[in-house]
Symmetry: C2
Subunit: 236 residues, 2 copies
Amino acid sequence: MNLILLFPDDFTAPDRVFLGGRRFEHIRDILKAPCGKSLAVGKVNGLMGQGTIVAQKADGFELEVQFDLKPPEALPLTLILALPRPPMLKRLLFSAAMLGVKKIIILNFNRVEKSLWNSSSLGPQAIEEQLVLGLEQAKDTLMPEVSLKKRFKPFVQDELPALIKGSTALVAHPGGAPLSAPIGKPVALIIGPEGGILDYEIELLKAAGCRPLDLGPRILRTESVFPFIVGKLFAF
Amino acid sequence: MNLILLFPDDFTAPDRVFLGGRRFEHIRDILKAPCGKSLAVGKVNGLMGQGTIVAQKADGFELEVQFDLKPPEALPLTLILALPRPPMLKRLLFSAAMLGVKKIIILNFNRVEKSLWNSSSLGPQAIEEQLVLGLEQAKDTLMPEVSLKKRFKPFVQDELPALIKGSTALVAHPGGAPLSAPIGKPVALIIGPEGGILDYEIELLKAAGCRPLDLGPRILRTESVFPFIVGKLFAF
């Protein structure tokens, strides 16, 4: 936690917050921060700044806060992701939030196990938990927006073309072209399921305007593919 | 497991292997492969090829194997890594092997907890286990070499300059230059501890010939930093 993300409910006054629960334990047990200590804070979807611990209660800390710093710029990337198993989903949501993605679409593919759509890891609270952790790791405040698309074909045919208008749309898939230089404009990146994307699905994605992107001879795990491609796409 | 890595002890004849234990269970329970099925195999540090299941015993499978394919080229990158906590170490060894790194040096830094050097995750078998999993994920056979350096200063002053000769040596550290285009030659990449690299350590690394590499305003986790930088460094 390199920044403490603050929500409207945390505020007891415009310049005061009370932090209990996970954040209380983190400040007390990991940071071991005493009264008077200043910590990086940020208002969700707002400015970042400093919080000074003014009081420790039995169940939380009181901080005096001020805000003067813009969060880092969003990564101009829309991530469209085949629904993975819950542990991988958690890591990917964390990772996407950490890397600055602000729009995440979780999509069905033929090789996504249907039962995964009933997983509790897709609940709004479970999703938000990982996004908050990712923002706190990165020092960012802008909460990504996540949407679930359970039907592949209607999404790709009816929604995707408008979504990727003005962007470079890439789908990680063997046999595509490699990427030799960073891209300086918005990207929509599609990462399929671990078992691969069917020919039929690739054809529909191509018809919608997506270009296959080859990642070399090695088969990478989804959780590494994503930062690997982000590293390639953007020069910073 | 996209490839079954074979070791000398697995061979019962030049073209026969017997696979028990973890690989037996994987073939039986995950791949659910019947007799006659052909699977991708590779000899450790040798060629890749195909194995056909010829018999299933109570405790293993017998495969007839042939080899005709070179493993993918090594990534021209030496990874020098501050010793992380065991779960992160496991993921990083896996990830380095998967991405094609063949030389990994685990180094002490001031902000590495000293007790971590006694962790069982640094034992040769524990290290090999993660490397094997990474190679099996990527479809590669060339086993990386891992060495442990428990003393920072003697390593940086006495060994590092020779080690990085002919390479671009980079250390992930705020305030360095960003990297705007892939590098076409060998790289030595140093990733410090989660808590950061001390000024004193950075000065020693610079004196040894390393250049700080800035990764932008976000603070990334080590496990994502590594594929992120590899994506940046190499065009493939």
